[in-house]
Symmetry: C2
Subunit: 350 residues, 2 copies
Amino acid sequence: MLKKLSIADIARELNISKTTISFIVNKRAEEKRISPGLVKRVEAYIKEVGYKPNPIAKSLRTGKTNIIGLMVENIADPFFSAVARHIENKAYQSGYKILYCSTDNNTDKTKELLEMFRERNVDGCIIAPPVGVEQEISSLLASGMPVVFFDRHLEGIQTDQVEVNNYESTFEATRLLIAEKYKNIGFITFASSQTQMQGRLEGYRAAVSEAGLKEFILEINFDPDERLIIDPIVDFIKKHPKMDAVLFSAIQAGTNGLKAFQKLGTRVPEDLAVIAFDDCDLFELYNPSITAIYQPIDKIAEATIDLLLKRLHKKAVAGDFKKVVIPTGFTLRHSSKPVAVRKKTVNKKG
Amino acid sequence: MLKKLSIADIARELNISKTTISFIVNKRAEEKRISPGLVKRVEAYIKEVGYKPNPIAKSLRTGKTNIIGLMVENIADPFFSAVARHIENKAYQSGYKILYCSTDNNTDKTKELLEMFRERNVDGCIIAPPVGVEQEISSLLASGMPVVFFDRHLEGIQTDQVEVNNYESTFEATRLLIAEKYKNIGFITFASSQTQMQGRLEGYRAAVSEAGLKEFILEINFDPDERLIIDPIVDFIKKHPKMDAVLFSAIQAGTNGLKAFQKLGTRVPEDLAVIAFDDCDLFELYNPSITAIYQPIDKIAEATIDLLLKRLHKKAVAGDFKKVVIPTGFTLRHSSKPVAVRKKTVNKKG
DNA sequence: TTGAAAGCGCTAACAT
DNA sequence: ATGTTAGCGCTTTCAA
């Protein structure tokens, strides 16, 4: 392994200046009116010896890194990792690499991470922001850093953003349960002031209120330890025996909700009809299958990275921010309507 | 937003040299015997104005980037994203950031990505390698880049690696099915010459052969389009009506296998007993619950990043590579043993 | 049409 | 105990 060649080595070898080579390498030969002969000779030599400009030196000089900072709540979350995958694809196609990090919705950690993005000179950021970092994001924005929010936004901050129609999704889902004659519809969610969670909560509340029904809301403090999610759900269900349907606000609520049902022997939809926000294989294969609101992850990711790339390529007007709203989809399955003929369940016999 | 301060600004302001400041900032004041008074004055000023050294300039000078390259098959895969999460935690604790990318098991793409890691001067790489990039990895290693393999390795390449005991896992799982008196045990896997998949296949074959039973093997060409996984499974099951048990070699085989069962109306374990490699909520909540071999992802990730950090901190002896084998766990559920008293299933009535 | 040279911000060998 | 200075490899202004 020989030492990597620098532009100076090439210049010396070819007996021409670094400047000329730099122009050729950066495809500015024509603009700089370098003779085609020279261009050919240099390009041939570069290919022959496999010269690649050092991106770090380039960054130091230009201030550009060709790196995008991606900040999600948790990269292990299937939603965020799927978004990351799509973003990665598009970013690499445009020559950008991705530095990722997880916030855990921790404000202090997020602030550090934002500071890191600034120090590292990432060219732009894609962020699913926790509340409480408004000031830091504003400062980042003020310093000229392009920032695109996705999944949620921060009140009072003007920047590009991509979201699904959270309010409408739960509003319609709740109305569907109401149309099926459910009278006591619960909403199981996480305690969060994030905009997307607020939107989902408000959609539910509006539909229930419109129908003159009573609210049953459980707000769980999110914890990676799933027992701390399952147990409150168990308690909530026990506490409200009249509840005949439930809407889960997020995937972790839905899957842990099913685990709670298992503990309690709750029958779906006989004891409790169910609709879940976010879809997954489990909901398709569960018996009975679970009706779900799904987020078109590919569309969300693509809109997000497109917005950022437009900024990076200066195709977007400074100060003119876009808000893209992606509609969710709905997968109607068996958990959300009463069974006409009630079947005997095997569970009770076992 | 003022321009960021450089070490030169501080030097001018404090009327001392850049060198001194550099030593102080890099905690080498004592070693360089800088007077405590000065150290204090400088540190106070630095804190006051919030000076942070520019990591890019530092990288250019030192050749170190404090960036780790993480290369997985697909960051959207729950296994890999969970590994990524754990690695991220540990890496950030040690001051390293992570650049990630997905190979899709595509050789050409992987080669480009490896080249990118080299160009970008990442300090070390964590790689789940596809076959076919032996030469490129060797060259990377030869140039002094620390590389840790995980999930699988590449034949003939000496480097640190972390894996689970694939062979033993499927060997024991198959023996378990044999002990339950299953006679025609199938193995549903993906066509792959990767070491981990080969290990799982061989474990199955050894156990079947030991018991003098017949092999039933389905090798599917992996495709992100799940229909192209489900359909072959459906065909395979139809083609082998005598098959009474099946072992899935990976999560995508298992989940799509259940979808195939759904299409066919296959009853578990009455028609087909099941054990799956990799565990997930679906297997826990499916009816009947699915027995699974699980990979301790936290342990895998920790062993991997530890190995790399040891290299980066020069705590590992050059040329002395470690191979860490993490034992899988086994979650015995209801899909892997005959039901003593056959229950009538509700499915058939509905 | 091409080249010389300054400088991005930092580190470290070499003074003093 | 602290300072001078030469780069790391690149881009770009200015000059020729």
